[in-house]
């Protein structure tokens, strides 16, 4: 797809079965993610999105095929820490990712596991928190923060282990619209700073932020390409059970009425494009 950087994450014919289910959750998936890419992963509930996330850092092991991070297979138990330090996972519910009561202690959890010296941990905690803009909340109890802030703390906790790839598993689905906006802003910044991002999402508005989209249906990859191409393919959208976001619908009905605007990333871009029309 993109010829950005090194191949970071490689899925090769990966199949995975949960123990109590007959149908595999992921079937023969092959794709790779390069350094600095921004990919969205979409699909129905139980289409295998979260399973792919957990396969990416060795939380789950493939039944067939191979998952590699920088060429290291996730089955290599000796180098599991190296793999996990490169691929950071952020989950849906911030409450269930917080290990410690205070913000700084929670962010420090990752670096502590890497057995780093206290000065280095301090440095990483401060860095990670200033990236997400919560340095002023260092000594606050996590449970006093808003949903959006809690999720940013969870992201900081992952940033502190200095991963190259950030996988966000529906990380914005449980927080209020204001918090979601806050988190999405930070994710955009992280991508600009060179992090590769995989965003698992139900929200098509979020898909529009990405440069590449992978759609799953019952464990199979049914699309891998530009989000615009996904949205302009109604039969495919129907198969993946996705609805076109209001923004896309608007652009399409505009072009149906003879008003052509370039495909916008968000509302602001559309407004901008409409204002430039003559």
């Amino acid at each position: 797809m993109s010829n950005k950087g090194l191949r970071l994450l490689d899925f090769e014919g990966v199949t995975f079965n949960y123990q109590n289910q007959s149908a595999p959750a992921v079937k023969g998936c092959t794709f790779n993610i390069r350094e600095g890419e921004f990919v969205s992963l979409v699909g129905h509930n139980s289409s295998g999105k979260s399973t792919i996330a957990k396969l990416s850092n060795g939380l789950l092991q493939p039944k067939e095929g191979q998952v590699c991070v920088y060429g290291i297979p996730t089955t290599d138990q000796e180098r599991l820490i190296e793999i996990r330090a490169n691929v950071g996972l952020v989950f849906q519910n911030p409450d269930n990712q917080t290990v410690a009561s205070l913000v700084e202690d929670d962010v420090a959890f990752g670096p502590e596991n890497l057995n780093l010296p206290p000065e280095e941990i301090r440095k990483r905690v401060d860095e990670a928190l200033s990236i997400v803009g919560l340095l002023h909340l260092l000594k606050h109890p996590v449970h006093h923060l808003s949903g959006g802030q809690k999720q940013l703390v969870a992201i900081a906790g992952i940033l502190a282990i200095k991963p190259k790839l950030l996988i966000l598993d529906e990380a914005t689905s449980l927080i209020d619209p204001k918090g979601r906006k806050q988190v999405l802003e930070k994710i955009k910044h992280l991508h600009k700073d060179g992090y590769a991002i995989v965003m698992i999402t139900h929200r098509m508005e979020e898909v529009l932020l990405s440069e590449r989209s992978i759609a799953l249906e019952k464990g199979n990859i049914i699309f891998d390409g530009k989000p615009e191409d996904l949205f302009s393919n109604p039969p495919l959208l129907a198969r993946a059970g996705l609805e076109r976001p209001p923004l896309v619908q608007l652009v399409e009905s505009l072009s149906g009425n003879g008003i052509n605007v370039p495909f916008p990333k968000d509302e602001n871009e559309l407004v901008e494009a409409l204002c430039r029309l003559k």
Binding site: L59, L89, N115
Partner: protein, 267 residues
């Protein structure tokens, strides 16, 4: 009133006071020694002196009075029960009698004494957890258990488990609150009927609470592993408390105070 306001033991408030600044190991050790010492002191007045000492510590740690009082609420029934039993069952000089029951002077003194002990027990625990972060507290516990590590005792893992348990207290209280409200809105009744009926009415709260706690545990385990946690691996720490002059002063003051109280109580 939400549940979080009800349980004050275990609620840490990050402040910068002389008590907060003490080494957690010193705080935990002194608290434990004090808790035992309460049962060594056998006289009312020396115990009262100990109570004053505890209140001075509370004031130093800036524990709000209401916070302490709220901490007594869970043991209120215990206090009332012991007072009633001690009041009527202690023999001695009768002061008042009615319905065949007699209140003696000794009875009043003994019940005062027992109540003071209970209040002291709770106060010390409240002050300790108010002024010590759960993480520091478990660090202290871990360092006390360290000698056991040599015989294969998982001291660090147990300390981590405890700090996670403490961290989830507010989350689970909030959740309980939510479930109670949800069940109430579906017509559940938690406040009428006898003791057994009431206890039974909590089953629809406990089951969802347990189910969700297990789900949380599952997700937390994934999140921890994703952050490079591997059981049994060596971990470092952000904060490594160091013993300072203030800690030695605190120990010295406490030892002197306790020795004084002890001598007073055996005189």
């Amino acid at each position: 009133m939400s549940l979080a306001n009800f349980v004050t033991i275990g609620q840490f408030v990050p402040l910068d006071t002389p008590i907060h600044r003490l080494d957690p190991r010193v705080k935990l050790l002194l608290s434990l020694v004090l808790l035992v010492f309460i049962f060594v002191v056998g006289k009312l007045l020396p115990l009262l002196a100990l109570f004053v000492l505890a209140m001075v510590c509370a004031a130093l740690a800036k524990v709000p009075l209401m916070h302490l009082v709220r901490g007594m609420r869970p043991i209120l029934i215990l206090i009332v029960l012991t007072v009633v039993i001690q009041l009527f069952s202690t023999s001695g000089e009768p002061l008042l009698s009615f319905w065949g029951l007699t209140i003696t002077k000794e009875g009043i003194l003994v019940s005062l004494f027992v109540v003071l002990r209970l209040i002291l027990l709770v106060s010390i625990s409240v002050i300790l957890t108010y002024a010590t972060s759960p993480l520091d507290l478990t660090f202290a516990l871990e360092s006390f258990m360290l000698p056991l590590k040599r015989i294969g005792f998982p001291a660090s893992e147990i300390a981590l488990m405890m700090s996670i348990a403490l961290r989830f207290i507010p989350t689970l209280l909030e959740e309980t609150d939510k479930i109670i409200k949800a069940q109430t809105s579906r017509g559940a009744d938690f406040s009428s009927g006898g003791v057994i009926a009431r206890a039974k009415s909590f089953i629809p709260v406990l089951i969802p609470l347990f189910v969700s706690a297990f789900r949380r545990a599952d997700e937390l385990a994934d999140a921890m592993e994703s952050r490079c946690f591997i059981t049994g691996e060596k971990r470092s720490r952000l904060h490594v408390p160091k013993l300072g002059l203030n800690d030695f002063v605190a120990v010295a003051l406490c030892v002197v105070a306790m020795a004084g109280v002890y001598v007073w109580s055996i005189l």
